[in-house]
Amino acid sequence: MNKSKLITMKEAVEQYTYDGMYFGHGGALPVGSDCISFFREMVKVGRKDIDIASNCNSQGTNLLAAVGGLKRMEVGFSGLEVYGFANGLKRAVETGQTVLEDYSNGAIPIRMMAGALNWPFIPMFMNTGCDQQWASADDPENYPNTKKIPEITDPFTGRICGAFTPIKPDVAAIHVTMADIYGNAIMLGTEWNRYELSRCSKKVILCADKIVDTGVMRQYPNLVRIPYIVVDAVVYAPFGVWPQCSTGLYDSDEEHMYYMNKMLKTEEGTNEYLQAFGQYDDVFDYVNLVGQERIDKITKTDTAFLMDPYRQWIKTDAEIKELLERR
């Protein structure tokens, strides 16, 4: 555990992502945790033909779809909850640019668990007896489809259930509230799919809102659900979930959630959005782009007290810059 895995956002996207990869992201929550700034960086360098295993759409997948970089997506929920339909993704699906294969919110993480266990398939009742089973965007000519979720019989009881393929992404980017430089991480708020995703992916990159000293992990080892062993790289990603919320640190930015989604509705709007919010050098510059006014507003969160036990271990920007330079 003595090797630092801390690299920059730019390095992470350059070294670990590539066109055509099978990518996983987490928490993949439409309003909460996800690695949004990692998606911004992928869009900045023009990654394309991405195949995504997603629990839910987020502003990250919404943006990637809006620029035409999303080839295929397996997903449980494709909207933005109370913020409405995800306009970028909706446009990409309706025009046929993105192939959207539907599952449900429970089926996706269980398929990830099957991937983590290296099982050949996993049997479930959910998503059977309905169009998640009968309609396949990968194989649209065959309806009702018998290959996407083949019907099998429970050998013990004779009951009918579905056989599901495991999910094993090439690369996953996972948002965590805090990580140390070795890749030990603590998440606040719902974990959603992140525990399974960190175990089923071939490469795992953590995007951490805060870089912390390992002392916090030794104080609260029960909370470290993602340990260094399954992690390949750690990226400092302050406000990396913005405009969505990061529990304990900042609320969702209502104004920007609506604005961003409105802009992603059209190609012109998307370009205009990227002109305004896609140009920055590094994560420190990115924080400037978010701007102090927004930061002051969103960090007044009722969940802020959740961070109290951890504050003494948080590294400052100056310390993080030094850690990056010392490599």
């Binding site: 928490g27 929550l29 439409p30 309003v31 909460g32 945790s33 629990n55 839910c56 449980g76 929920f77 494709s78 909207g79 909850e81 109370v82 913020y83 339909f85 993704l89 699906v93 309706e94 046929g96 539907d102 599952y103 449900s104 919110n105 429970g106 996706i108 993480p109 479930m124 009742f125 959910m126 998503n127 059977t128 007896g129 309905c130 998640q132 009968w134 309609a135 396949s136 649209p140 000519e141 309806y143 429970d154 009881t157 009951r159 009918i160 259930c161 708020g189 719902t190 974990e191 959603w192 799919n193 992140r194 525990y195 399974e196 919320c245 529990t247 609320d251 969702s252 009722d302 969940t303």
Partner: protein
């Protein structure tokens, strides 16, 4: 008394929850209905969200999502989707739940996935054509539909949403009626009611077709039949559903602090 149709629907939904039940609420209206029930008559209702947020109540307004900070500020446990949707919902452990729908049919099947042009629906043309309008997909509703002991459908009552057969089944109700649901091994019992902006429909115990069992003081059997896309049967003992009491409205509005249900 001054209240909106949305408020009546939320209160009628909330009345279906009993004290001590294990319940899961989705985002938006269903969460308001659930927290209204907890505040009004079911203080022992055990609620959680599909992401595994336990023991919390909304703070600062209607949560933007099931994982939003507004529902995470006073939780007693945070777990994950496999725990909440898998161990508690898909397993068959949850007593009651609410799901929303863009479209429902007479057997309580729910479509939240897409709108197809007439005669291009996948089941009609035998292939999975692209929807004209892509909606949000099933989310966690499919786990509720297949796993919850019973659940409620909360739907705005408009003719375009109430059809003989949904274009796409995102979450299965009673499929083709009768015992067709039983072919599948679902641990859950199926939908117990459709609570709409105009009234309440419940399934016939044998055919599983949803029939009208109640209407509100402001609606009528005729209005509901006109706004239903199948030949809606009316229960012989159809009743007028009592309008909200002052206490109910007060409790609902204490939960709906931003007044999202008061917009007419």
């Amino acid at each position: 008394m001054d209240y909106t149709r949305q408020e009546m629907m939320a209160i009628a939904t909330g009345r279906e929850f009993k004290d001590g039940e294990l319940a899961i609420f989705g985002v938006g209206l269903s969460m308001l209905a659930g927290f209204f029930a907890q505040r009004n008559h079911a203080p022992g209702l055990m609620a959680f969200t599909e992401g595994g947020v336990y023991g919390s109540t909304p703070v600062g307004g209607l949560p933007w999502g099931i994982e939003d900070n507004r529902i995470s500020a006073n939780a007693v446990s945070f777990t994950n989707a496999i725990d909440a949707l898998g161990f508690l919902v898909a397993s068959g452990r949850v007593d009651n739940a609410v799901i929303g729908a863009a479209e429902v049919d007479k057997y309580g099947n729910v479509n939240t996935t897409g709108i197809w042009a007439p005669d291009t629906e996948p089941w009609k043309v035998g292939k999975y054509t692209l929807p004209r309008v892509r909606l949000n997909g099933s989310g966690g509703a499919n786990e509720i539909a297949t796993g919850a002991k019973k659940y409620l459908l909360m739907v705005t009552h408009e003719k375009k949403r109430f059809n003989e057969k949904v274009a796409y089944i995102s979450s299965p109700g009673y499929l083709d009626g009768g015992n067709t649901r039983e072919k599948y091994g679902f641990p859950g019992g199926g939908p117990s009611a459709m609570i709409t902006t105009l009234g309440i429909l419940r399934p016939d115990p044998v055919t599983k077709e949803f029939i009208l069992t109640g209407y509100y003081p402001f609606s009528s059997i005729e209005e509901i039949k006109e706004n239903t896309g199948w030949d809606l049967k009316v229960a012989p003992d159809v009743q007028v559903i009592p309008e909200p009491t002052e206490k109910e409205l007060e409790n609902l509005r204490a939960v709906d602090v931003t007044g999202s249900l008061r917009k007419k």
